[in-house]
């Protein structure tokens, strides 16, 4: 029998992978994808909670977080395009002028 | 494994088998029909040599494609290059799973719906699956490592994304009136009156967007031979090419089936059995596609996008508004 814990652990694994991805990748777009993965991991735990606690709140939250993800993706990608236009790169290590 | 599940599996497998094969046959028939009908519309004969009036022409074509050399460009991304046609074809076929094509019947005491599966988010399923088809096209364009292919792929996916939106919105009117996302429910709701009468604007929007969605003339910009050397499948040959070809026709059948389900009352009709009615209506829709192809010239890319975003999208929103208003006024 699959329990809530199974889903939570899966969600935690996916989330951690996303975190590691953000930390080790240099391509801004891939980092962005890793963030999406983390968002999805959280969504998964939301839905799992909703299912096992017999509540709709979790699903509603997923609905809203998807909206936010969509908005975030459009704006984020637009920013990446704007940066690329200026710096000819999407490598986040090249965007390090905000320092001493 | 208990008996219920066993029977369910048997019936489902049979249904899937039948539907799959019917679609294949229809694709083959469509190819012949298209060539013949267009030929006659243009006052020529079309294929005449293979079989009676060229009836076996599609078979001959198929054999030719099967036995041609399968070329993979040297600089191509091989895995994706091979996967892309599959990724296009599979979603196109998957959509048939939720389309009801006839009345429920009873055989050997088992109740059998004439639909592979009736899920309660049917139309969402179709939209979701068909949106996956875009990947095949984008991948095909990109993995070919050819600028024409890439441009064709990007154009095509941009077009499909744009029109997918309008398709979804144009169907919402019907969904609102039915109160369900299930295809079966939608068909059943039309037993008295077709939704075409109630949702004329929705149908027009749907028809236009559906043509654009499947990249058919006059919206066949992604594969515009004159400017893109056939677009995303420039580099494809042999069986892979035929898979794109089949996917295109399968998609045509899908959108026609959706049109029938949503606007033409599905399998409902007098005298004849439901399946026959369904096939008749489907054929009529498919004939429409061919008719349009041989009638209209191709649009320019920017015209297409403007049309989709600036005219069809607002119109479909307007349609939803009107539908909602009427429903409120009538107290539905």
């Amino acid at each position: 029998m699959i329990t809530l814990t199974h889903y939570l652990v899966l969600s935690a694994i996916l989330f951690s992978i996303g975190v590691v991805g953000v930390l080790i990748r240099r391509n801004a777009i891939v980092i962005f994808m890793c963030i999406e993965l983390m968002l999805n991991a959280v969504n998964l735990s939301f839905v799992a909670f909703a299912h096992y606690l017999h509540s709709m709140e979790g699903q509603m939250f997923v609905f809203f977080s998807m909206t936010v993800a969509a908005a975030e993706a459009t704006v984020g990608l637009a920013i990446i395009i704007a940066i690329f236009r200026n710096k000819e790169t999407v490598n986040v290590d090249d965007m390090n002028i905000m320092k001493w | 494994m208990d008996k219920e599940l066993f029977v369910f599996l048997i019936i489902a497998s049979v249904k899937i088998f039948i539907v799959f094969n019917v679609v294949q046959v229809m694709v083959i028939a469509m190819i012949w029909f298209e060539r013949k009908i267009m030929a006659h519309m243009q006052v020529r004969l079309g294929p005449m040599r293979v079989g009676f009036h060229g009836l076996l022409q599609p078979i001959a074509d198929g054999i030719k494609l099967l036995f041609k050399e399968d070329i993979i460009p040297a600089k191509a991304e091989k895995i994706l290059f091979v996967l892309a046609p599959v990724m296009t074809l599979v979603p196109a076929l998957c959509t048939f799973a939720v389309i009801p094509f006839g009345e429920a019947i009873n055989i050997f005491g088992y109740h059998i719906d004439m639909v592979i599966t009736d899920i309660n988010v049917g139309i969402l399923y179709i939209l979701a699956v068909s949106s996956m088809g875009i990947y095949g096209i984008v991948m095909a364009g990109w993995s070919s490592n050819n600028k024409y292919s890439l441009l064709g792929g990007i154009r095509s996916s941009a077009q499909m994304i744009s029109y997918e939106l309008t398709i979804g919105l144009s169907l919402i009117g019907v969904i609102m009136m039915t109160g369900s996302l299930s295809m079966v429910d939608i068909v059943n709701a039309q037993s008295k009156m077709w939704n075409l009468v109630l949702q004329p604007l929705g149908f027009i929007i749907y028809a236009i967007s559906a043509i654009a969605e499947v990249n058919r003339c006059p919206f066949d910009i992604p594969e515009a031979e004159t400017e893109l050397v056939a677009g995303y499948h420039t580099e494809y040959s042999s069986m892979k090419f035929s898979m794109f070809f089949m996917a295109e026709y399968a998609n045509m059948i899908t959108v026609s089936a959706i049109a029938v389900t949503f606007f033409f009352g599905g399998w409902h009709g007098p005298y004849l059995p439901g399946v026959v009615w369904f096939m008749l209506k489907l054929s009529f829709c498919l004939f429409g596609f061919i008719w349009l192809r041989s009638t209209f010239p191709r649009l320019r890319y920017d015209q297409l996008m403007h049309f989709g975003w600036k005219i069809l999208l607002p119109l479909s929103l307007f349609n939803i508004l009107i539908t909602g208003l009427i429903m409120v006024v009538r107290g539905l």
Partner: protein
């Protein structure tokens, strides 16, 4: 059958996610992510959230990831070029930290830190009302304000994206 399905889907999504973070070519990264998303969508179906599953596919794979692919294709003129890495020493600690994070989260899950109240919508009840209908009803009653606010958010995002992506800012 359900447990097997869960394990298969879980395993494939995790593997796809791992490929995502170790794959060099961003186009493949995107495809792995799509794959992972589809698996998650299947898990949603297992969790009796069909509507969410459909929306997951439509929004994430159908829209967001296609957008990603577009941007990748537009920008990655030369994907195979070796990219400069200013922080090579962060690779190992990052993975270690990821693992530590996983362990800590596992501990948190094990400690039953996340407990919620039992809600009223049991599977049977959801079935009787209809899953999509229920979401629609809640969306336009209890969650009307957040719903309207997300519409504003989307509107703002659209404008922001257009302004940002315009040739001359």
């Amino acid at each position: 059958m359900e447990p097997y399905l869960f394990y298969v889907m879980a395993a494939t999504s995790v593997v796809a996610a791992l490929y995502l973070i170790f794959e060099k070519n961003p186009v493949f990264c995107a495809l792995y992510l799509v794959f992972s998303f589809i698996n998650i969508a299947v898990l949603y179906v297992l969790l009796e959230a069909q509507f969410i599953a459909a929306v997951q596919v439509i929004v994430y794979t159908g829209a967001i990831m296609v957008l990603f692919l577009f941007v990748i294709m537009l920008l990655m003129v030369d994907v195979k070029k070796k990219q400069k890495d200013d922080l090579p020493f962060q690779r190992i600690p990052a993975m270690v930290m990821g693992f530590v994070l996983l362990v800590v989260m596992g501990l948190a899950i094990k400690s039953k830190l996340f407990q919620g109240r039992e809600g009223e919508y049991t599977s049977a009840k959801v079935e009787s009302i209809g899953h999509t209908q229920l979401i629609g009803k809640l969306l336009f009653t209890d969650y009307l304000l957040p719903f309207e606010m997300t519409s504003i958010l989307l509107f703002v995002a659209v404008i922001g994206a257009i302004i940002l992506a315009k040739r001359k800012v």
